[in-house]
Symmetry: C2
Subunit: 108 residues, 2 copies
């Protein structure tokens, strides 16, 4: 079994499409929370500046299997289909596999 | 006094320069932790795939004043000078001001 790891994904909606993309991401996030115990973090961040905000997903997977389950889930596939069918993205999603190497997550 | 807000910054080192950039970011993060109580999160993430990994900073500021203090700090200025003097970056840092709009930060 692999170690937990993070994915940080940048999603770039077309101008005027951010609200619809947010709606889809919120639906996907609710399904992940309900159905995927191996996804330890699935946090939707929206850019607050500019008229074409990006979304940044902060995700943490318990192991590779959890990512496999996520990728195969009907909700994730529905998200992908809707983004494509409604032509909502200005660029392909950019995903970074990351690990923490310093600093601190919280002072609270 | 403004509300807490997040900044997610993507830092792109030149090939072969990631370790030096990480060193500088770790030094800066230690100073932030020690000297800047208004910075609630200053988390250094390194990309684990590819031979030219990017760094993604996950930062949370208590308010605008905290960002002002951060930007004016000698350590932040020293970081900027070193990145420039040693010509370590392949592209300018890309900073996104963000807010959470859905999903969850942790299941732990």
């Amino acid at each position: 079994m692999s170690e937990p790891f993070d994915i940080i994904a940048v999603i770039t909606p077309k101008p005027g499409k951010a609200d619809r993309v947010q709606e889809l991401l919120e639906t996907a996030a609710a399904a992940v929370k309900a159905n995927e115990p191996g996804v330890l973090r699935y946090h939707v961040q929206r850019e607050t500046k500019g008229d074409a905000p990006v979304f940044i997903m902060l995700e943490t997977y318990k192991n590779k299997e959890a990512l496999g389950v996520h990728g195969a889930s009907p909700d994730f596939k529905a998200l992908g289909r809707a983004l494509k069918k409604e032509d909502l993205l200005a660029a392909p999603m950019k995903a970074y596999f990351t690990k923490e190497v310093g600093g601190y997550a919280s002072k609270l």
